[in-house]
Symmetry: C2
Subunit: 346 residues, 2 copies
């Protein structure tokens, strides 16, 4: 009982008493001076660790205000990012958490080496980090891990280590649903206009599509699988590519709405009628899908909910609570609009 009585934050003098050394010695250890015997240092450090002592300097940099979570985007301008961020902001307002935004532009977040960047986040009192559709390096992640800065990724662009906490949607099921919808309409020549080849979410969508084709006994044509970026330009160029194939597909499954919008744009330019001559399914279910002409059939992801889930997972970790799972996967849903119909009868 007596041992757990005094729960006030420990002072330097407390540490000295517990360790059995003088206050000045503890002070030296805390401030990283070198004139301390290794064993003494070790003993003091152990007690420091165990009591959770923090020095005035540490207390100063430990954010006095509300929690701050940093959200890192690869590039910012997209309907997808806007939706995810909206969810994060909504949840942040409720939780009294502040959101700091940064954009990597394809590089690493922040300046300097991974260690320095991570230290910067720690110094500035970030409670954690949400990384959205970005690539990141293993050294970067381990720098965060070493400092116990919680990180949650949403649809990373490179394969994440298995122990990393991530939030996503049922991409495999979504890809399968998209392809099955096209198969149900009678299509047999279905192209896949994908995202970055390495990206987990792209792989899952691709394999959902492959699975649907295979289970219906429809042969897979490697020529009709094209990877690229989640961008409108990739849709434009992708359609151009596909129209050059000796056998043209009658339907395209695009791995994002932005890609699909590019396909629509190029189809209009080339006079290819959607859906009469070409059916098209997108992925994401952003406002882009609804506003497109013809309105896009698309696999809708709960992007705002994904943002909220990511923030929850970061805060849970920051508070030292257990996570139910290292991977949160929210349901996708196929929304049929005007861009899909039966294939033309030749």
């Amino acid at each position: 009982m007596a041992a757990t009585e005094a729960r006030a934050k420990p002072t330097l003098a407390d540490i000295a008493r517990i360790t059995g050394v003088s206050a000045p010695t503890v002070s030296k250890v805390v401030n990283g001076r070198h004139d301390v015997a290794p064993e003494t240092r070790a003993k003091v450090l152990a007690v420091l660790e165990q009591t959770g002592y923090s020095s005035p300097v540490q207390r100063r940099s430990a954010s006095p205000g509300p929690d701050m979570v940093e959200v890192v985007f690869d590039a910012f301008t997209s309907a997808y990012n806007t939706d995810v961020l909206t969810g994060i902001l909504e949840s942040a307002a409720v939780q009294g958490v502040e959101i700091v935004l940064s954009v990597t532009g394809g590089g690493q977040p922040g300046a300097g080496s991974p260690e320095r960047r991570a230290q910067r986040l720690l110094d500035e009192g970030r409670a954690g980090l949400i990384v959205v559709t970005s690539a990141f390096s293993e050294p970067q992640l381990s720098a965060f891990r070493r400092r116990k800065i919680p990180v949650v990724v949403i649809d990373p662009l490179n394969p994440p280590p298995p122990d990393l906490v991530s939030v996503g949607a049922t991409n495999w099921a979504g890809g399968k649903a998209a392809a099955e919808h096209l198969l149900d309409l009678g299509h047999r020549r279905i192209a896949y206009l994908g995202g970055p080849e390495d990206a987990e979410c792209n792989q899952a969508r691709l394999h959902g599509y492959l699975s649907a084709l295979m289970s219906r006994g429809v042969p897979v044509e490697q020529d009709w699988i094209v990877h690229g970026q989640f961008r409108t330009e990739h849709g434009v160029e992708g359609l151009r590519e596909l129209l050059k194939r000796k056998e043209r597909p009658t339907a395209i499954f695009a791995a994002s709405d932005s890609i699909a919008v590019g396909v629509l744009r190029e189809a209009r330019r080339q006079g290819v009628r959607v859906p009469d001559e070409l059916s098209l399914v997108g992925f994401d279910g952003t406002a882009q899908a609804e506003d497109a002409v013809p309105a896009l059939t698309s696999v809708s992801q709960p992007l705002q909910e994904m943002g909220r889930a990511a923030l929850r997972a970061v805060l849970r970790q920051a508070r030292g609570e257990e996570l139910d799972s290292h991977r949160v996967e929210l349901a996708t849903q196929l929304v049929v609009r005007e861009s899909t119909s039966a294939p033309p009868t030749p």
Copy 2:
């Protein structure tokens, strides 16, 4: 000479000596206790001010890291906001400034009274504030002013006090250009589907439109001027309204692309062909205008540049530099696409 010799930061004891009171008394003033005579308090405050003393608490909250600027949106999800924010983030990355995001949802930023909200920003070391298409109250602004927190507004939704620093576009000229384009095509029955009636930018666009009509001797029809929010739904409802008028307009100038997209959506539903039966001009020049079908003729604003300019203006003020002007106005440009043509010949 001797007077300016010791430039070390003043201690509480220094303040006490200079003011001629005891250290405890200064301590009380610094910590906002009430048991101090008003005159004593005033004397101490004067010296505090003049020496630039900062208490441990202040020193703790005076951000040790990079500058942070808070960006406040009314509501977040829109192509307009995405573009403005992209500009701000770009500039922030270059300047080494961090961006904290908050959304008011139509209310005031932060929690509590204006004074408490402003104090929160100060405590958390914000270098300044950018307020984007939000409404704000005079008490709120004066709370910022009193604490010398620089504020820059972009297209506020209520009339801003004249001394507030603001960034915008040449809305009047843009409105005039839009109306003149329609007049040049031969339209005489031109409706204005506006934004919030009070908003400065809406007023300027409206009066640019009015000016163009008047200078061509085209009578202004009050029935054809409808205000509302900068939202797609307003475009949908606005077109429904306008189609009920005994005399229908042959052209609509929508005060934002989002409104114009709503008009397009409703026109398609009602079978009104754009531009054959109805010409349409939008405002903003976001990706929405380009992706619409038909592609929208729109008055383009340099939204990213506006974001960059706003951040520059905040940082200038934060550094105590002089601003060239309290109002930065960037050029708009009419971009003609597919949604405008000559009126139908009856």
